[in-house]
Amino acid sequence: MHKKVKVIPCSGIGKVYGLMAREAALKTVHELCPEKSETVCLAYIVTGDKEAKEKIEGYDCITVDGCPKMCASKNVAIAGGIIIEDVKVLDTVKEHKGKKFGTPTQLDADGEVVISEIAAKIAAKINKFN
């Protein structure tokens, strides 16, 4: 398979978990798996434009969501992407009880640690798939 896996975070702007989703996804596509993965603007997908749909319909996607509302996952599904994994930031956050991760603007050191863990999980999935 030559098609790149699409890694799409929710990028929620109200809570740190949204930034964590975003940073984990971007770390994956820019740093860990630039050859095998890329991202697509979630905001673009939700416009419902024909071109936007073409970017995602039928592609393997990994969504990264910051909260249980699962916006990235739901929107990618609506747009016709094939979700091979829906990553939940909170699953990894739960393993770091009591820590603070930063703000929706900027991550703290602990936030960076957690997004690296999440990015590693996403990368492992991508590598397994390709």
Binding site: V16, Y17, C67, P68, L90, K97, F101
Partner: protein
């Protein structure tokens, strides 16, 4: 059995306890209008079973502590009304389970005991008009602050304390939980520590704890009584409290000990709605 249950057995094929779960489910369906949810078929025919599970209270039968049936129920977001675990029942009734997969004398005896237990518990519950498990039909009033919505159920059987916890009282039982005020303030709830089943609890005693990255709060029971069940789904999915703390996000059920006296210090919808609004205004200042 009095209620018509949807029954989800684990049906584990490789353990004696699993075989017992299956047999109990079958027997329960022979005797009443209960319906079985096949855990294997559920994975492929979700719609069919979601309908059954939505219409009836759900009885989950786990064979062993792996609790596959419970996990399946949690995964599918089902509200569990009643739950039994065969290995635990075996322990209680002093029946030793071996590795045989066919049901022999011992196993059949245990099945009889469990079935009898279920029936008598049901009758007892019915006579005390236990309908807390019946499906909800709450009507909500909503208050909006910024983009946040705060719902409060208007049902007259729901009482509140000023610690933002509610009790839905039917007969001698109450289901309790927190209000939207709590879940909105906490934001994403990550951990739920349930109270101990069987614990005797005074009014305003702590019945568990919920925690987000912002804070941890004690759940302060509006009523006194014995904890008879907890919302086990929350252990895996505490976010259900954020979704709706009055329905899928309920915390525990208590058998009431002195509700008439408890009531003195509780308020109904009208009063609580005002209290909540005032708290929200104060938060602003």
């Amino acid at each position: 059995m009095v209620e018509n249950y949807a029954i989800l057995p684990c049906n584990g094929l490789d353990k004696c306890a699993g075989a017992i779960s299956r047999e109990i489910a079958i027997k329960l369906c022979e005797n009443a209008k209960n319906e079985i949810i096949c855990p294997v078929f559920y994975r492929v025919a979700e719609a069919k079973y979601n309908k059954i599970a939505g219409e009836h209270p759900l009885l989950v039968i786990d064979g062993c502590q792996t609790r596959c049936a419970s996990k399946l129920a949690a995964e599918k977001n089902l509200k569990v009304s009643k739950k039994i675990t065969i290995t635990e029942e075996a322990k209680i009734h002093n029946v030793e389970l071996k590795s045989n997969l066919r049901l022999l004398k011992n196993e059949n005896a245990l099945i009889e005991i469990i079935l009898n237990g279920l029936n008598s518990a049901e009758e007892k519950a019915a006579s005390s008009s236990d309908k807390t498990n019946a499906s909800y039909n709450f009507e909500y009033e909503t208050y909006q602050k910024d983009k946040f919505l705060f719902r409060v159920p208007k049902n007259p059987e729901i009482y509140f304390n000023e610690n933002d916890c509610w009790a839905y009282v039917i007969g001698n039982r109450a289901r309790i939980g927190v209000t939207d005020f709590v879940q909105q303030n906490l934001s994403d709830i990550l951990y739920y520590t349930p109270p101990e089943i069987g614990a005797e609890n005074d009014q305003f005693g702590e019945v568990g704890e919920i925690e987000s990255s912002k804070s941890v709060i004690d759940i302060i029971s509006p009523v006194s009584g014995k904890v008879v069940s907890i919302n086990e789904t929350l252990i895996e999915k505490p976010e259900l409290i954020n979704e709706n703390p009055y329905e899928l996000g309920w915390i525990a059920e208590l058998e009431l000990t002195d509700f008439e006296s408890d009531k003195e210090l509780l308020v109904g919808f009208d009063k609580y709605f005002e209290i909540m609004k005032k708290k929200l205004e104060n938060l602003n200042a």
